[in-house]
């Protein structure tokens, strides 16, 4: 199964003089069970695209197939709540959604909306909070008395507690410190590897995308410019230049090594893998 966008367009303020076509005839297939990155300049429609995945935005025309549902423009769409449990969406600036008196209650709010018991919801909340690295001591603190980065983690936990099978993250690490951002990404990657969850992540951080995402979707002015394996995009100088992408440091590094005569395999994507390979090569010489 895959997530399929079929000639999907989305227009903000349709029918108004200032209507704006944010998505223009999108045809796209996202593979389930993989990590997919969505990149593109600011305003290219990334957020608009991912907000369709859990039907917060409904297409102006075209349709979207996700899990076992089809969402068609201009049709009555019922039971979206059930879809939103399976497709968890963490917003850009998600820290504004917090409202309960304690962190634990806030994270348990989501699961409780799906009619499970208080204890069960709290259990799920504890698990999710531990996963995002919030200490048990903090569970009874008010979510308004903590730092922005911690708020972000709690907002993410609020979605993780729903245990969705597709996890969509809109710039989850913007505003986090580098170490915190790295930790966050690793949590998502682990969820993908251990539980097979589909991860779709909007990001401006090409380093992270290169390191972790199997597939990449590149958006440009509301259209899909590229969709396919991440390595094929960034390892291709022509595409990198054509779309003015910021080249990941690892790619530049690999190129320099190639110029020095090392035959670095294309599938090396992290600095760790590269170090291991270079160690072997240097010893050989």
């Amino acid at each position: 199964m895959a997530i399929k966008f079929k000639s999907l367009s989305y227009i903000y303020d349709e029918g108004m003089p200032y209507a704006h076509k944010a998505l223009d005839d999108i045809n796209l297939e996202l593979v389930e069970g993989k990590v997919t990155a969505i990149i593109g300049e600011t305003g290219s429609g990334k957020s608009t695209l991912v907000e369709h995945l859990n039907a917060l935005l409904l297409p102006s025309s075209g349709s979207l197939e996700i899990l076992d549902r089809e969402i068609v423009a201009r049709e009555k769409n019922k039971g979206l709540k059930a879809l939103r449990k399976e497709v968890g969406l963490v917003f850009q600036f998600s820290e504004y959604q917090l409202f309960e008196e304690t962190i634990l209650k806030d994270v348990a709010f989501g699961p409780k909306n799906y009619g499970i018991s208080e204890e069960e919801a709290n259990d799920k909340a504890r698990k999710a909070l531990k996963l995002v690295g919030i200490d048990e001591k903090m569970f009874d603190v008010s979510p308004f008395d903590i730092s922005g980065g911690q708020k972000r983690r709690i907002a993410i936990a609020g979605i993780l507690a729903l245990e969705p099978s597709v996890l969509v993250l809109d710039e989850p690490t913007a505003g986090l410190d580098p170490k915190g951002a790295q930790e966050m990404i690793e949590i998502f990657i682990t969820l993908n590897r251990k539980q097979g969850k589909t991860i779709i992540i909007v990001s401006h951080d090409n380093e992270m995308v290169y390191n972790y995402a199997e597939n990449t979707v590149l958006m440009e002015k509301g259209r899909i410019a590229y969709c396919g394996p991440t390595l094929e995009l960034f390892n291709n100088d022509e595409l990198v230049r054509k779309y003015h992408l910021l080249e990941p440091q690892l790619v530049s590094f690999k190129r320099m090594l190639k110029e020095e005569g090392f035959k670095v395999p294309a599938e090396i994507r992290t600095i760790g893998e590269l170090a291991k390979y270079m160690g072997k090569e240097v010893r050989k010489r």
Binding site: D13, G15, P17, Y18, E51, N54, L56, K81, R84, K85, G88, L89, V90, F91, F93, S94, Y96, Q97, L98, F99, F109, G110, P111, N113, Y114, F144, A155, G158, I159, L162
Partner: protein
Amino acid sequence: MNNLVFGKYIPIKSPIHDLDPRAKIAALFVMIAAVFIPKSWYCYALLGVIILGIVLLSHIKITMILKALKPTMFMMAFLLIINCLTVKTGTVLLSYKSFVIYSDAVLNTLFIVVRLLLMIMLTTILTATTKPLDLTLGIESLLSPLKVIHFPYHEIAMMISIALRFIPTIIEETMRIMNSQKSRGVDFEEGKLREKINAILSLIIPLFTVAFQRAFELADAMEARGYVPDQERTKYHTLKFRFKDFLFLLFAHILLALMILSRFYL
């Protein structure tokens, strides 16, 4: 929430957009007065044609005006019912057992409805063709004679302009929080009363926090740039009252005069 048309500025060019906001505000008040004076249907036909003419001149789509009118339908239906139950004069239009509808009830309601329609059209013209900032500049300028009685007209205008400026922001913020909570399984449309209350709470509390946060940030930013409330200020953006503004205002007054005269001669 996105369909909120009433009070929204439409950024296009038109002769009406081009008028001085003071002329528009003053003319609006004069014309609203004109709308509430006459008792004859001829006058309303004339007013209707003129106001529709202004709408056309302002290049606003009629459908937009209709959308602005939609929320008032409920009120109008309510008015009709009340009138039907209370007004007992005129000829009998309809009778069913002890329930009788008199012609005056319908006529009265029609009068009120037409007046309301025209008034809403006028205010929509004003807000759709005047930038919020110009609107407050206009209000400030119109209130400025009150400084002789130490009326804080500048502060009032500043408050209005800040409030207006933040309406779209707050709407956007509301949409965003609503979407976040929907993603956590909140259902704003369906559900039992208890769930509804919970849904509203999950929206209101973050909204208040954000609003206060915004307010404090703005206050800090203004102070950091040396804003002192009761200081005399110069303006970057000044209003110019031109001949066409005078004509527009004159036209509104003539209309008012006509309507007053109609009470005596029609």
